[in-house]
């Protein structure tokens, strides 16, 4: 209101001056000017104070708005945080993960007759996959803390061919022991060597080293108890003892003996640490002792008949393993290199029974003793993010095998062709691509001299994908 009046007055005053100038004296003019000036001053002051008030109002409005938006953000965040918490019974479900794996294989030799000469066949899945496209074993894993004392893990492997699920690992482990002690019980991959404890989906090659195939039947999972102690030293040092049922090769018979007590024992120790900022290493020594009972295998005897033989006795296996990983500043994201090797040495003694089903020359039994060894060395290099190349060399030494029935002249070496001296070897190269932590495609070439007088050229194309809970992998 005031603003309009003041403006009107000012305009009137301004308009009035020229008219008044003619009639008015100089004093009048002066007075008039003074009045206008005063009027203007009051008006400006008023406007100024009003502007100030307006500004203040605007400022506080802005503040209120900011506060409101902040409150809204906080409320939103709180709502999201609240809703992100799973509720109800499902909240305590174990972590579930699933591994899918499929393979295309092109083999120059028929895999159905696969054998490794010079060594007692191990039963189980040691041969290459079937030719052509096939679904590999799918792995289903559950794990969670049971309570503050125990953690439980179950890993089932589902085989597509015979529609069966096998328990690969199913164990509990302690959380509440101290001073470096922990105990695992159930079925678990034995702590013998390095590769044996690693799940197939985390292997750097599509198949196991030859030494793991002939000495551990691909991968040894034992029913038993494992005691482990980690030393309180800056350098990593552990000691472990496993007592098992001896449910499969190199123990046996398949499924374990019908007796109280233990069928296998394994002692292991590891030493590990860092060298500088970019290298980590670990080395281990393990000793596995088992008493195979009626370990059966088939062979073609000198008459060309397929006969079943069996071994009962003692088996002792030493494994020396080492792994070294390099990554610049221990940041493996861009480039890294891993070298891994194991040396196996086994001595077995006992009774070898020939033709237990008496289908050829009749059942006979005699002494059996062997000293055999094998090793592999492999390197895997990630040269750019997502891409790795790898090279592996395997070699086995059938060593000395003495068969009482042959030494006594009852039978000839030709009756046990699979046990004849031979040093299998294999060279493998691979290239893999992992677009994320959860998927991997691999192309692998191998030239395999496992069988006497037969070279197998193997081309494998494989995918391995993991779904669900984020797994943690052992060093």
């Amino acid at each position: 209101m005031f603003r309009v009046n003041a403006t009107a007055l000012a305009v009137a005053a301004a308009l009035g001056i020229p008219q008044a100038a003619h009639a008015a004296t100089e004093d009048d003019l002066k007075e008039l000017r003074e009045q206008v000036r005063q009027l203007k001053e009051v008006y400006e002051k008023r406007i100024e104070s009003l502007e100030k008030r307006l500004q203040q109002t605007e400022q506080s409005a802005g503040k209120a708005e900011a506060a409101a938006s902040k409150a809204e953000t906080t409320a939103n965040q709180a709502a999201v945080q609240a809703s992100s918490r799973p509720v109800g019974e499902n909240a305590l479900n174990p972590g579930i993960s699933l591994i899918l794996n499929g393979i295309y294989s092109n083999l120059s030799r028929d895999p159905t007759g696969f054998k490794i000469n010079g060594f007692v066949p191990t039963l189980g899945e040691v041969g290459p996959p079937v030719r052509g496209l096939s679904l590999g074993e799918s792995e289903l894993a559950f794990s969670a803390n049971i309570d503050h004392h125990f953690r439980g893990t179950l890993i089932a492997s589902i085989s597509p061919d015979n529609n069966s699920a096998e328990i690969e690992e199913g164990y509990i482990q302690t959380l509440s022991l101290s001073n470096g002690f922990s105990i695992k019980a159930g079925r678990f991959f034995s702590g013998i060597g390095y590769q044996n404890q690693i799940h197939a989906h985390a292997w750097d090659f599509a198949d196991a080293p030859l030494a793991n195939k002939v000495f551990l039947g691909n991968q040894l999972n034992e029913d038993g108890i494992q005691f482990k102690w980690v030393a309180p030293t800056p350098l990593y040092f552990d000691l472990g003892l496993e007592l098992g049922r001896g449910r499969k090769f190199p123990g046996g018979p398949d499924g374990g003996r019908n007796k109280n007590g233990f069928g296998s024992g394994n002692l292991f120790t590891h030493l590990g640490g860092d060298i500088g900022a970019s290298i980590a290493w670990q080395t281990g020594l393990s000793y596995l002792t088992t008493s195979p009972q009626d370990r059966t295998f088939t062979d073609l005897d000198s008459t060309g008949t397929s006969v079943t033989n069996s071994i009962t006795g003692k088996s002792r296996l030493w494994v020396l393993d080492g792994v070294l990983k390099w990554a610049p500043n221990q940041n493996p994201t861009y480039t890294n290199f891993k070298v891994q090797g194991e040396y196996f040495r086994r001595s077995e003694s006992g009774i070898l029974s020939y033709d237990t089903a008496a289908t050829s020359l009749g059942t006979q039994a005699g002494s059996y003793a062997s000293r055999q060894s094998g090793w592999y060395l492999q390197g895997v290099y990630q040269f750019v993010p997502m891409w790795r190349v790898g090279l592996r060399y395997d070699r086995l030494n059938s060593g000395t095998t003495s068969i009482g029935l042959v030494d006594s002249g009852a039978l000839t070496a030709a009756d046990f062709p699979i046990l004849g001296g031979y040093n299998p070897h294999r060279t493998t190269a691979m290239l893999d691509w992992s677009p994320s932590e959860f998927s991997r495609m691999r192309l692998q070439f191998a030239r395999d001299y496992s069988q006497l007088g037969a070279t197998d050229n193997q081309i494998l194309l494989q995918y391995i994908m993991s779904l669900g809970a984020h797994g943690a992998h052992k060093f």
């Binding site: 945080q81 992100s84 922990s182 980690v230 030393a231 800056p234 990593y236 980590a280």
Partner: protein
């Protein structure tokens, strides 16, 4: 031979006796927490950081040396929110140490004590390596550091009651110095308000949120997935329409993608310290924020 054995046994026992000594062993998953624990514990603690600024905390190997360390630790401090999910669970189960298992006072996940950002509404791996519990890189908002400091101070006092008063004193001294510093940083950083920024990985979200900056893109097409040419080309196009003022990356990221975008889109690129030890100036938490703000201010001039 006998004397060697004797010495060895003596060594083992001496080492076994260590935890009983008057100091607390603190194992921090990331250097920011070891630095904070050092501020709050002083000479009453021995801190160890499992990672350095040059390592991606998502991708750490459960190395034997880390198991050896965590075995004799009294307090483990991690960011949590699945950041260390690929390695910490293994270290914990291999440790044979009941004091640091989840649920015991010796295990502390810092992100549990702050308001987390970017909690996904949809959880699907097709979106990249997302964290269902929200963004775990909470330490670049100094107000979070203040909150976590209170929690750590309480834990130290709980685990080592004999020195509870010392921890209290150190905590209040830190609180005061930190508050003053935060005010200073907020003044200095006023010019960063609304500044559009491109990140490498979404590990600066808390800083960006604190300073009121705007994240307008990331070099990773999806969290945890390295930059691809297609995504970079797309980003360059977007930068033509609405340019960012600065591109930031961490010391553990490969700078190539950031530099490529910087050249093509003519936007300055800055390596941020990200955590303690990331740059020469980031020697402690104060230096970390000083350097972070100064580097950004210098870049947007």
């Amino acid at each position: 031979m006998k004397s060697i054995l004797k010495n060895l046994i003596a060594l083992v026992f001496a080492a076994a006796a260590l935890p009983a000594a008057a100091v607390l062993n603190v194992f921090a998953c990331e250097p920011e927490w070891s630095s904070l624990a050092q501020e709050l514990g002083g000479d009453k603690v021995i801190v160890f950081s499992a990672t350095t600024a040059l390592q991606d905390p998502h991708r750490i190997e459960a190395r034997p040396s880390l198991i050896a360390r965590i075995r004799s630790t009294d307090l483990v401090i991690c960011s949590g929110s699945e950041l260390e999910i690929g390695w910490i669970p293994l270290l914990l189960t291999q440790s044979g140490n009941d004091r640091i298992q989840p649920g015991s006072p010796g295990f502390l996940e810092a992100s549990q004590f702050v308001v987390r950002l970017e909690i996904p509404k949809v959880i699907d791996r097709a979106l990249g390596d997302i964290h269902p519990s929200g963004n775990p890189h909470i330490h670049l908002d100094p107000r979070n550091i203040a909150k976590v400091a209170e929690v750590i101070a309480e834990r130290l006092a709980l685990l080592d009651p004999a020195n509870a008063d010392a921890y209290k004193t150190r905590a209040s001294s830190f609180r005061e110095r930190w508050q003053t510093a935060v005010q200073r940083w907020e003044q200095q950083g006023a010019r960063l308000r609304s500044v559009p920024v491109v990140v490498y990985h979404r590990d600066f979200s808390y800083f960006i949120n604190w300073m009121g900056m705007r994240e307008v893109g990331s070099l990773e097409p999806k969290p945890g997935i390295p930059p691809t040419p297609v995504h970079l080309a797309d980003l360059i196009e977007r930068m033509k329409r609405g340019p960012a003022k600065v591109i930031v990356y961490s010391p553990y990221n490969n700078p190539r993608a950031a530099e490529f975008l910087s050249e093509r889109a003519n936007i300055p690129v800055v390596m941020m310290p990200f955590t303690i030890g990331g740059t020469g100036r980031a020697k402690d938490l104060f230096g970390l924020f000083d350097d972070t703000i100064d580097r950004l201010l210098a870049a947007i001039k």
